[in-house]
Amino acid sequence: MQKDIILAGFGGQGILLIGKMLAYTGMQEGKEVSWLPSYGPEMRGGTCNCTVVISDRPVGSPVIQRPRAVLAMNLPSLEKFEPDLRPGGHLFINTSLISQGAQRDDIEVVDVPANDIAQELGNPRGANMVALGAYVGVTDAVSVEQLENVVRHTFAAKPSVIDVNIEALHRGIELGRQHAAGKED
């Protein structure tokens, strides 16, 4: 069983960080993981992305051309990666910053107003956590409990932001679960 996702957005949105947290959580659960960043001059203020693979078996290709999920935190990311998504795959769209919807109808779209929710929580920098939560809420790629531990560990040096980030994470998870439940109905 393999879960994989390409997470993409602007540099500075915390994309690489939530990718690492996802991979780290998978590793803590005893799964095989890989985290592969895009790198290069475009990292500075431009778009950035990373690919995370979580698997029961040793990870084959860390390069995923046909991802099972895509998180698009900005419009260029949506335009770049929507075409690559596997049919039936999950497309998470940060609707706070992207006004256009998906072009395809053979995929499952999850609207995540990540920045709006983060703003509402008084934690504008927590949009990435909302998005991460939404992905986990929909796909159960990793356990919520482990993920919480990883968030605590990640922000251990800044205790004041732990609770607000966990709150943002949970709002995302809630949103993801509602989406999953709504699909079943």
């Binding site: 590793m27 095989e32 890989s34 290069g40 040793p58 860390p62 390069v63």
Partner: protein, 363 residues
């Protein structure tokens, strides 16, 4: 020790420290900067020394000096930097010094780009620099294997008194994966004492002269034959490869790939297996010495052979040599920092089986 999620460059650096390498000399170049960055803070913790040299040329010569004292020492760079070090590596090979070199390959020629590539296969295995020498070359395909091979590299370098190069593409440098460092690690070779090292001469041993100059041709020839004997021993003793796929019976296609390209091949192999296509894969782990015999044996039971590389076709020449019979091969590559995807390999295998793939003949 518990698993840690580490970037390849950092795992390589930490593995070196744990292998007893307390000296690093290097010069910044993308995409391996995390190696010197990590070591600049890590080495002082273990009483070691990090020097950011003024150039790659200086770095490799600092290695020459430090290795001559018998200490374990490493440098890392990326393709253009390795070219600059080439002269010094030849001196190190000539003076028979153990050093570990890391090349996180990027696409060329010239400045090229900073994205992953395997374009330095020839440089690594055939023509690194002037003179008649070889470096033992190891090509990891995962972060864990990179860490393991770095530790082995120090033992192999000490045993053979020869440079050992660990070559990874940019993915190996930048990717994060879980890594575990074995606490009970033992040297993989019986390591002789470094009686040749220049440690100050108290006349209790022959004077240590760290040198590659032999003006007398007969003496140089003897030296060359001595070096050749080491390279021959490496070919007998150090070949490493891995095989994946059906152990018995005929293969529709045998894939040959190294480094992270083999990871892509493995994913393709598994998906093709689900489609009922019998695919096997040989992954050279040592690029020198090259697993000629293993490839020949595996090829004997394969209908078609596909070589995949991030170069215009470098390792494929060794595959031709391995097969000896001029048998045609299929080839798939991506260049310039573009990566091969599992889907491309799967498509290529279908093309081969449907007779739509052009074959490459050697000679």
């Amino acid at each position: 020790m518990a698993k840690k999620l580490m970037k390849g460059s950092e795992a390589i650096a930490e593995a070196a420290v744990q292998a007893g390498c307390h000296l690093f000399f290097g010069y910044p170049i993308t995409p391996q900067n995390e190696i010197p960055e990590y070591l600049s803070s890590r080495l002082p913790q273990v009483g070691g020394t990090f020097v950011q040299a003024e150039s790659e040329v200086a770095s490799i010569n600092m290695l020459y000096g430090a290795a001559g004292t018998g200490e374990r020492v490493m440098t890392s760079s990326s393709s253009p930097g390795i070219s600059l070090m080439a002269e010094g590596i030849s001196y190190i090979a000539g003076a028979e010094l153990p050093v570990v070199l890391v090349n996180i390959m990027r696409a060329g020629p010239g400045l090229g780009g900073i994205l992953p590539s395997q374009s330095d296969y020839f440089q690594t295995t055939k023509g690194l620099a002037h003179g008649d020498f070889r470096v033992l070359a190891l090509a990891p395909w995962s972060i864990q294997e990179a860490a393991d091979l770095i530790q082995d590299a120090f033992d192999l370098a000490d045993y053979y008194r020869n440079p050992v190069m660990v070559v990874g593409d940019g993915l190996i440098g930048q990717m994060m994966e879980p890594v575990e460092f074995r606490e009970d690690r033992r040297p993989i070779k019986e390591l002789p004492p470094k009686t040749w090292a220049s440690t100050g001469w108290k006349k209790d041993r022959p004077k240590a002269i760290i040198n590659s100059l032999f003006l007398d041709p007969e003496e140089l020839e003897r030296h060359n034959f001595k070096l050749k004997a080491k390279y021959d021993e490496m070919e007998r003793e150090e070949i490493r490869f891995a095989y994946y796929g059906p152990e018995e019976g005929e293969l529709d296609v045998l894939i040959i790939a190294y480094g992270t390209v083999a990871r892509v091949g493995l994913t393709a192999l598994e998906e093709l297996g689900e489609q009922g296509i019998r695919v096997g894969m040989i992954r050279p782990i040592t690029l020198f010495p090259f697993p000629y015999e293993a490839i020949r044996n595996a090829a004997d039971r394969a209908k078609h052979i596909l070589v995949t590389e991030l170069s215009t076709g470098q390792m494929i020449e060794d595959v031709h040599l391995a097969l000896r019979d001029g048998r045609p091969l299929h080839f798939h590559c991506r260049l310039g920092g573009m990566l091969i995807s599992p889907e491309e390999v799967i498509d290529k295998v279908h093309e081969i089986l449907e007779g739509r793939s052009e074959e490459i003949r050697h000679g």
